[in-house]
Amino acid sequence: MKSIAPSRRAVVAVCAVVLYALLSRVALNSLPEGAALKWAVYSPPVLIDLVLCWLFGRTLRRGAEPLVTSFARHAHGGVLPHGIPAYTRRVTLLWTLLLAAMAAAAAGLAAFGSERVWALFVYAASPALIAALFLGEFAWRRVRFRHLPRQRLADMLQYLRLPSAHGLPLLRLHAMEDAVARRRGEPIAASALLADAASLAAALPPGRHVLNLCRDRYHFLVGYAAALMAKRLSLLPPGSGDAAIRDICRGFDDLCCIADHDGVPRGVRVVRPTGHAAAAPPRQMPAFPAGQPAAVVFTSGSTGRPAPHVKSWGSLVRGALALGRHLGLGPSIAPQIIGTVPPQHMFGLEATVMLPLQWRGAVDAGRPLLPSDVKAAIESAPAPRWLMTTPLQLRACVGDGLELHGALRGVISSTMPLDAPLAKAAEELWRCPVEEIYGSSETGMMALRRSARDPFWTLCEGLTLESEDGATRVRGGHLDSPFTLTDRVEIEDGRRFRLLGRIADMIKVAGKRSSVEDLNARLRAVPGVADGVFYMPEGAQRPVAFAVAPDASKASILGALRRDLDPVFLPRPLYLVDALPRAANGKITRDGLEALLRRAAAR
């Protein structure tokens, strides 16, 4: 299954050869002997040049995409950096002209030149011209687009296939024996994944949605692939909390749940990811249209039902390809991923599922949390290794002075801000770049930076930023639709920007966003609470809350909040106070809350 045959093209090619053979036979039979021989000897090179010339030239007509642009689009995962389309159109034209000139020269020499000159031209000069244009253009491109990630010749040859008309493949690999995952270092082959996924897909009960709760990352992959193959939409819940899962279940009545552990809320039909009757694995690599809805991630908000965000297969693939190019991946670099973030979180899905699937990589099946477990997972994987993690885990690892045997190629952190000193300490400890992704559940990654050195974020390829009335929108690239940022932004130039802090109302805990107003409303709605406010102190990981509640106890307030809120937003701690520092207009200032916090904490 190494090459997935674009069968229609093969049929056309065979027909053309047969037609040519028939024509030649007719020519040989009907022409005088000398002319027939001439036709047989002289025509093939001319015809080949003409066919190639036609293949390039026909894509230059209005409305069509030039052939070289198609190759480039394939290499860039569907999103072309600025300047590439115009350039590749000119390159297509150049190839068309060269091939036309070669056909004309071969025909001219056949008619008027000596046999020796003709043979020299066709068998020596023509291939040399083609090689010269190919290599010359490659060298020129590296100079002309030196600001883009370097492309290697091997990568370029790799992409000289037309984009498949059948969709974007589930995974890209060299061979079916390649590892797609490792459990405690033991490789799990792509063939096993496809077989398990096909069996699970056949065992799924009817319905359109599946809830993938698997903790083991290989089990998650099986569930995710099976859902795609069975044309189901994978729902990826933000947390393992029962409340969040029950909320999601209420919204979808035809749900079944793929889980590899017990403790799934009752009333949901559970299917195990593996252990089903073997179904025939697919004969071809499964591929899905770019527009197929593939996954739903949720922003928890603080209250009520989690808000769903649908991701198309195309946007997930384009995002993974962009991330891989940023990391400098290619056919010769198969990334080995260790992830501490759940695959159900958008960052986990991008960095630990889509990235290895689309770049011939493999992912560690575990989800190590404690520093010693992170170390064991990293050391069980072969090079080149990347760690996909959060600032919390980085802080724990750096705090432990976690020494690694064997180098990491890189670390990527996301879900909450990574401060420069921590990033620097991690870089020094592991001697590798530590990069940070700025993203959201709605968009996936939007920008990257090397946090130890650079306060500025660089926008991901293909994306554009625009500011209007104090709001900043991001669009293009892998995104399915534009998105308005929840942070204030200062744009340095087209590609680089600085974050000026959250739009005051938003806080983020453990990768989940909430509006403070929303939290406040919940607090004030608790019986016995007269007034109340949440506050996120500078540098804190959790919010505190102040409540004026003469007739309620802390325990009863916390109990009520626990029923209503995602647990990550529960106040640590809750202070009962006599009054909130409200100004005459009812507003509470940050300074007022800061002073109140100092007084309350001192008590």
């Binding site: 903790r215 083991d216 947390g239 393992s240 909390g241 029962d242 099946a365 575990g366 989800r367 190590p368 949390l369 404690l370 520093p371 010693s372 477990d373 064991a376 919390l392 885990q393 802080r395 724990a396 705090g399 432990d400 453990a510 990981q541 959790r542 802390k554 916390l558 626990r562 647990p567 990550v568 529960l570 640590r572 701690p573 809750l574």
Partner: protein, 87 residues
């Protein structure tokens, strides 16, 4: 319900490290620490691991994908630390 001295010590460490809204002796050693019980999450697991490593010079390790087993309850965590400390 019997609470050992080491369990009380660990309970105090947890309450202090996590800014919890309860006193250490309110933690039922058999009750789940995470999820429905005390309502802790994985951020707290890391905090506890860090606090334990600072105080006892011992690095917690789950040896297992299932972190929730060693953090199942105060008693389970205490047993895990005692077992591995002696090594």
């Amino acid at each position: 319900m019997q609470t050992t001295a080491f369990e009380s010590e660990l309970a105090a460490l947890i309450v202090q490290a996590l800014n919890l809204e309860i006193s250490p002796d309110e933690i039922d050693p058999e009750a789940p620490l995470f999820g429905e019980g005390l309502g802790l999450d994985s951020i707290d697991m890391l905090e506890i691991a860090l606090a334990v490593s600072k105080k006892y010079g011992f690095k917690l390790r789950s040896d297992d994908a299932d972190n929730e087993r060693i953090f199942a309850s105060l008693r389970a965590l205490t047993a895990h630390i005692e077992k591995h400390r002696t090594k």
